[in-house]
């Protein structure tokens, strides 16, 4: 057996440099990742590796590199969360109900990364229909944390975060509804960006909660996250809600200019559920920022206790409707016991969906029902508006809000999966930006005593990913300087 070459790339720019100078051929890099995917298959990050088609696609990209006609992402080996449609490939959303379903079209984000010559290596495990915070709701089982295989990856983009953490590919595209990119990124010590709502087209992305869902990058470096966002963002005929604002060249604008005003939310740092090691970590980062000349001040956000209930009422309401199409009639799983239309619905959905998905569909159906609509859905819409206004108000006076990404580091697999409410609180720091539609990033910020990664979240101003990413690049640099 020939030992594969070993690489240690964490930025596309380095790969592209070596490809250009012939120090590296793309096929070797692809084989390196394939080899690692095999070695670490027990992490359960990948649901499918597109092995059969990779040689041909790699050769095509290599040829473009040689000809000097390659796109911005040439050399990037990319994994995609299995809730993004890729034509001719299976799409499962980690659910049994999509059994056998093959996409007949590309999501807009897929068209865009392919146009820039990214190589898509495979589909990544996630919580079923992106509903979960530990990747344990996946029909295909949990993803293991590479830092400690007894621990969860976080979720719902667990496979995406672990694939980057374990160097199974250079970067991944995940999706974030209430923290599904940021939380697993924090648990795995990688960079995860949720863009401003409507910055990236949702066309072709399996909908969980339409007014929250955003696709975003998970990477080892802020540079790659910026570059990926630059490629996937922008207006799209397929998604009427997406913004027409021009897309900045984020990857070229990573220099931080001047000193910043940063707020931290007192309630988050004083919250009972917050692990003291994380609190200390955040406080230490705040001190470093102050020492570097930035203004960091506490602000109060009295609505913190309302963010999780508001989030769950609204997202489950939308989900109950978005998931109605998985009915056993047109595609995907149909129960063999179905005898007529009603039993096709009841049996296919009962057998095809997992417990967490069913719980959320029922919750959403309940809050939208005629007798409870005003008490729950309408009220939560009002609460969302208040949370949004209050958060935007803070960001009028400050450039960023800094919070821990999660109250805890990665927990043990199986530990919390019996208590859904406990699990929902894992989202407490991430859902604020989701409710407000603001861009937010989780950055690695050291480790706890057990060696598990800690993440820090930075929330930026609406559509101001330029400043958020520049500050993130600076923050990462600051980390390594110490």
């Amino acid at each position: 057996m020939i030992a594969q070459k070993v690489f240690s790339y964490n930025k596309l720019i380095d790969i592209q440099q070596d490809l250009k100078t012939n120090k590296l051929v793309l096929a070797d890099l692809v084989n390196y990742y394939l080899d690692r995917i095999k070695t670490y298959s027990h992490l359960n990050a990948f649901l499918e590796v597109f092995e059969d088609e990779l040689a041909e696609k790699t050769a095509l990209i290599q040829q473009k590199i040689n000809n000097g006609t390659a796109g911005k992402l040439a050399g990037m080996v990319l994994g995609i969360k299995d809730n993004i449609s890729y034509q001719g490939h299976k799409l499962s959303a980690s659910s049994k109900i999509l059994d056998g379903y093959v996409s007949i079209y590309d999501a807009t984000v897929i068209s865009k990364v392919l146009a820039e010559d990214a190589l898509i290596i495979g589909r990544l495990n996630c919580d079923e229909f992106a509903m979960g915070a530990s990747n344990e709701t996946s029909y295909f089982g949990p993803v293991k944390n590479f830092a400690d295989e007894r621990k969860v990856s976080g979720g719902s983009s667990g496979g995406c975060a672990v694939a980057v953490q374990a160097d199974l590919c250079l970067a991944t595209l995940g999706s974030d509804t209430g923290g599904s990119i940021r939380q697993p990124s924090a648990f795995c010590g990688v960079v995860g960006l949720k863009p401003t709502y409507a910055r990236v087209s949702r066309y072709g992305v399996v909908a969980y909660a339409s007014s929250f869902d955003q696709v975003g990058p998970i990477a080892q470096s802020v540079e790659d996250a910026a570059l990926l966002l630059e490629v996937i963002a922008g207006s799209d005929d397929g998604d009427s809600t997406v913004s027409h604002l021009p897309v900045d060249a984020y990857s070229q604008m990573l220099q931080l200019k001047g000193k910043k005003r940063i707020a931290y939310i007192e309630e988050t740092l004083h919250s009972e559920g917050l692990n003291p090691q994380i609190r200390n970590n955040v406080m230490a980062q705040i001190e470093k920022l102050r020492a570097d000349g930035h203004t960091v001040e506490p602000v109060s956000f009295e609505l913190l206790d309302f963010v999780v209930p508001t989030y769950y009422i609204l997202t489950t309401a939308e989900a109950s409707s978005n998931l109605a199409r998985y009915d056993g009639v047109h595609y995907g799983y149909r129960s063999p016991l179905a005898t007529d239309l009603t039993s096709t619905y009841k049996k296919s959905r009962s057998e095809g969906f997992g417990n967490e998905v069913k719980r959320r569909i029922m919750l959403g159906t309940f809050v939208l029902s005629a007798s409870y609509y005003d008490a729950y859905y309408a009220k939560a819409q009002k609460a969302r508006r208040l949370i949004k206004e209050k958060t935007e108000h803070i960001l009028k006076n400050y450039d960023f809000i800094i919070t821990p990404t999660t109250p805890n580091t990665a927990f043990t697999i199986g530990e919390q999966s019996t208590d859904p409410l406990e699990m929902y609180l894992a989202d407490i720091f991430t859902v604020q930006a989701s409710l407000a539609g603001l861009p937010a990033i989780s950055l690695p910020s050291g480790k706890d005593a057990a060696g598990l990664p800690i993440g820090i979240q930075i929330i930026g101003q609406k559509f101001n990913e330029v400043h958020l990413l520049a500050f993130s690049a600076y923050f990462m640099g600051m980390g390594t300087r110490l």
Binding site: R202, V205, L368
Partner: protein, 489 residues
Amino acid sequence: MVDSLQQIDKYEAVIGLEVHVQLSTKSKAFCYDSAQYGSKPNHNISPVSLGLPGALPRANQEIVKYAVKLGLAIGSTINQYNFFDRKNYFYADLPKGYQITQDNEPICKGGAVKIRLANGQQKNIVLNRIHIEEDAGKSIHDVDDNYSLIDLNRAGVSLLEVVTEPMIASGEEAAAYLAELRKLVRYLNICDGNMEEGSMRCDANVSIRLKGDTALGNRCEVKNLNSIKNVQRAIEHEISRQIQLSEAGVYIDQNTLNFDALTGITSVLRSKEMANDYRYFPEPDLLPLQLSDEFIEAIRQDMPALPEALYNRFINEFNLPHYDALLLTSDKDMADYFLAITASVSNYKAASNWVMGTIRSYLNEKNIGFDKFPISAQQIAQLINKVEAGQLNNNQAKEKVFVALLNHPTQNLDDILKQLNVLIDTNTSTIDGFIMAALNKFPDKVKEYNSGKKGVLGLFMGELMKISGGKIDPKNANKLLVAQLEKLK
């Protein structure tokens, strides 16, 4: 049946109609798929129509314009900030599991449609709203023994739902309202108005109450009525059924009913207990529609003349009788054809007679519309002018020339007239010859005339036309005939 008229007379019916108007846009409401009727099953289906994972709707701008057009035509308030909602229910021909519609903020509010009843009475049927929604696909249950077949070509086709206030009092009023609405959508060119093909579908909410009561009775909704006649029949049946129940002291259940056009009776489709909770909520995949004043004004400027305005113009400008004006404006194509003739004739009544009489009978016989009529309005106008100028006999024009034109619609009219040899001979000596021949044939009748029986003139005229082969101007010939008879006295 209810036997006493008195018993019936103490009730009044309260009816509201919901009409689904299928818009004639080229593509569907929320995607680029063709909205063509009659394509091969499951042919016009993209990921959006199929409701595939990740597919998203995009609003077709045309449907917004069409909705505003109809709203302006009936005097609705255009809701300049309106949005879409989802109506959630499961059915096999509804691939997304919800229908995109407008619940909370419809695009048009209020407005009214004026109807005329057989007794000449007029009434304004006030509208509650017009909203945009998408159609479902089609389930076909009678082709396969074991399976229902689903055709998703219609899934996502654009509809306007036009909802009246509960203020229609009879089947006749309902029929008049539907006829008026159909006329309107055809005038606006937003729907072909074909109820049999399902381009217009009507659900009727029928209730009864004692005259003088203000509270509404329990209503029954009769679904999927596919012709104006059936709407009227179903309503009349339903009123009579409800009165019977009420007279018998039976509670009227609030049910959804099906109308059987063969038997003319209604039956329960589902009861109120089985009613869905549609869980309406704002559609998060579409932005609210914000309509600027300019947008609405541009549509207003572009509106065609509506039947009411045309009716007034036909009366005031062309001096047509009420009957002509009403009939001509009942169909936009007919009104347009008439207008095209009037551009080059001065005898408007003659033009009206041609359109309502000769041409319409021909079209009725062929069962086609004015859009398929082969002869151009210019040809007909020329024909009218020839008659007017005394060059052609009106009967010849309506019979021989019209048939020849039908066979050769593009041929030059003068050539046709020459070939048919029907142009009137204006030479007085030739006519005198004809007159003498006619008088010589009936010397007895000449005597009768001389003794004062002017009625025999008709007989002579008939003979004259026969001898001349119709090639004389009757007015002129009549004058000359009288002169000759007077001479013979």
